[in-house]
């Protein structure tokens, strides 16, 4: 091996050793355990996976998670793109961007208090509805709990996506728009024919990153509603937490390997969209 290659490895090595000890080797152990019985480590093949896939809690959590992702991500993408497209050539764009980004910095724990006061049965939101002449709802203990989670997610992630969209928008040359204007294109046509195609690569990356960020919404849900929230917001993350507390290590192992496989596939697609050239 050349000396230069050796130097490169030496730079990476401390980090790689840590990653192996704390993540990689234990995760390989988890893969092994996913084929074993929890108590006496007997080989059971794919039995644990079958147990997980037929587990009603897993099916509920999986369904909720898919529903959550399926609603949140399109909503977030459309909302953040509209705002970014609007702010892009706007004098007040900078300050507004800061405002939208700020929720990213607010610790979840600090917001819990507001969520409680806002969504309580006799809280602020119901007060508002009441004074407008509508009947309130017990937000946290009905199907609306799910929507509170959606709003929390949008609120925290909007700024992040706006920043990404604005970066994507500013990479489209202004001269293209000018040329189109000269040829008589309206602003909607410009958006359709220039902006949209120019943003396609960004769209893909943003979708995958939004998906991965959506796992973090569990924090809000957990801190507001605890281990067993209303069943509409019972997500995979709650399930893993409860399995962990019950020490259902075999189910956890199979569940973790399944989720890791899904994310692995997503990352491979993401890498392809980046062009895959890392050297």
């Amino acid at each position: 091996m050349k000396k230069r290659q050796m130097t490169g490895i030496l730079f990476v090595l401390p980090s790689l050793i840590g990653v192996c000890i704390f993540v990689l080797i234990p995760f390989l152990d988890v893969i092994r355990r996913s084929f074993l019985e929890a108590v006496n480590s007997r080989w059971v093949g794919i039995q644990n996976y079958l147990t997980v896939f037929t587990n009603p809690a897993f099916l509920l959590a999986g369904k909720n998670t898919l529903r959550f992702v399926g609603i949140c991500i399109p909503l977030l993408i459309v909302l953040s793109l509209s705002i970014a497209a609007f702010l892009n050539r706007q004098a007040a764009g900078g300050i507004l961007k800061t405002c939208f980004l700020l929720p990213m910095a607010i610790p979840v724990a600090s917001v819990v208090l507001l969520w409680r006061v806002l969504f309580h049965n006799s809280g602020l939101l119901n007060h508002l509805l009441h004074s407008l002449g509508y009947a309130g709802t017990d937000w946290m203990n009905t199907g609306f709990a799910f929507w509170i989670l959606v709003i929390s997610y949008l609120w925290r992630n909007l700024g992040y996506n706006i920043v990404l969209w604005m970066a994507g928008l500013s990479s489209i040359p202004v001269s293209l728009y000018e040329a189109a204007r000269v040829d008589g294109a309206g602003s909607f046509q410009c958006f359709l024919k220039i902006t949209m195609p120019g943003l396609m690569p960004t769209l893909f990356t943003i979708s995958v990153l939004s998906l991965l960020n959506s796992f973090k919404v569990f924090r809000e849900g957990y801190l507001v509603a605890g281990d067993y929230p209303h069943e509409s917001m019972y997500l995979l993350q709650h399930l893993f937490n409860n399995w962990f507390r019950d020490l259902s290590l075999d189910k956890m192992a199979a569940g973790a390997v399944t989720c890791a496989a899904v994310i692995f596939a997503l990352v491979l697609i993401l890498k392809k969209s980046w062009g895959g050239e890392e050297d």
């Binding site: 091996m1 230069r4 290659q5 490169g8 730079f11 990476v12 401390p14 980090s15 790689l16 840590g18 990653v19 704390f22 993540v23 234990p26 995760f27 988890v30 705002i83 609007f86 800061t98 405002c99 700020l102 929720p103 990213m104 910095a105 607010i106 610790p107 979840v108 724990a109 819990v112 208090l113 507001l114 409680r116 006061v117 309580h120 006799s122 809280g123 602020l124 119901n126 007060h127 920043v163 990404l164 970066a167 994507g168 990356t205 991965l212 796992f215 569990f218 924090r219 957990y222 801190l223 893993f240 290590l249 956890m252 973790a256 989720c259 990352v267 890498k271 980046w274 062009g275 890392e278």
Partner: protein
């Protein structure tokens, strides 16, 4: 004229996004009597609906004094948060910078595969690695210690990825010139790479700070001893009849994060863009 309406809408949305900060500040400056008359229905179950004011009627710093003088447990938690965050950031910088440099500027066998592994690991949500994390901490007798939280996070691959993106932008010609002048790999790294990639380091630190100041899942899972808990877990456990203290503690937890956000916003945006868009 056509642009006024969307602009107003954006300002309204931005106002909503930032309102939680005002809500917490206002609450923390209200006297107990004002808080309980406004939030009574939520806090104590009295009749009617909770309401709130934009600003306190009679601002008082009493709760801040109370928090500083009469809440020894608050100091312990705040100190725990500082210790965890500082430890994690120090580890990430120390191990992560050389690794990012190695990935960005050297070629060695299996580099592509190892780097893909790093990307994969940075995308894994906590719940997927929870079990493997537990197994290794158990083996190393690090459960229920701060080191058990700090060490795995210090080897997080996310900051490596961010800094890698910035180091890739350091032009190779400068490095070659330095090499011809007789500089060794370590000199080149310390005197050329580090200064030119410093924006990446700051971006990674800002993003990590916001993430780890907000730490919920790891301490909740791995720290049984509540005296070791960080602020982010203490806040939701303040009972609502101590609303004044809950507000004040929330503001105190919020303060460092907002400070870092405002002073490092440019770096934060650069970091967000680096996390998604390949130049």
């Amino acid at each position: 004229m056509k642009k006024i309406l969307p602009l107003l809408f954006c300002f309204l949305l931005a106002g909503i996004a930032c309102y939680p900060i005002l809500f917490l500040l206002t609450g923390s400056l209200m006297a107990d009597t004002e808080l309980s008359s406004l939030l009574g229905p939520v806090l104590k179950g009295s009749k009617g609906y909770a309401s709130f004011r934009l600003l306190p009627m009679m601002p008082t710093l009493k709760h801040y004094a109370g928090l500083l003088l009469d809440s020894p447990e608050f100091f312990v938690m705040f100190w725990n948060s500082v210790k965890l965050t500082a430890g994690i950031l120090a580890g990430q910088v120390l191990v992560g910078i050389p690794a990012a440099w190695g990935f960005a500027k050297y070629r060695f066998p299996l580099k592509k595969a190892v780097f893909t592994l790093y990307i994969l690991l940075m995308m894994m949500p906590f719940q997927v690695t929870m079990l493997s994390n537990y197994l290794v901490l158990d083996r190393l007798h690090l459960l229920n210690t701060h080191a058990g939280i700090i060490l795995p996070a210090a080897f997080s691959t996310f900051p490596v990825f961010i800094m890698y993106r910035f180091f890739c932008g350091v032009p190779g010609s400068i490095l070659e010139a330095a090499q011809i002048d007789g500089a060794g790999p370590l000199q080149i790294f310390l005197h050329i790479g580090l200064p030119l990639g410093s924006a990446g380091v700051v971006s990674a630190v800002v993003l990590s700070f916001l993430e780890y100041w907000n730490l919920i899942e790891q301490p909740l899972t791995f720290l049984q001893d509540k005296r070791l808990w960080p602020l982010s877990l203490y806040l939701p456990n303040i009972s609502l009849d101590r609303a004044g203290i809950a507000f004040t503690a929330s503001v105190t937890a919020l303060f460092p994060a907002v400070l870092i956000f405002l002073s490092g916003q440019d770096y934060l945006e650069q970091g967000i863009i680096a996390s998604a868009i390949k130049e």
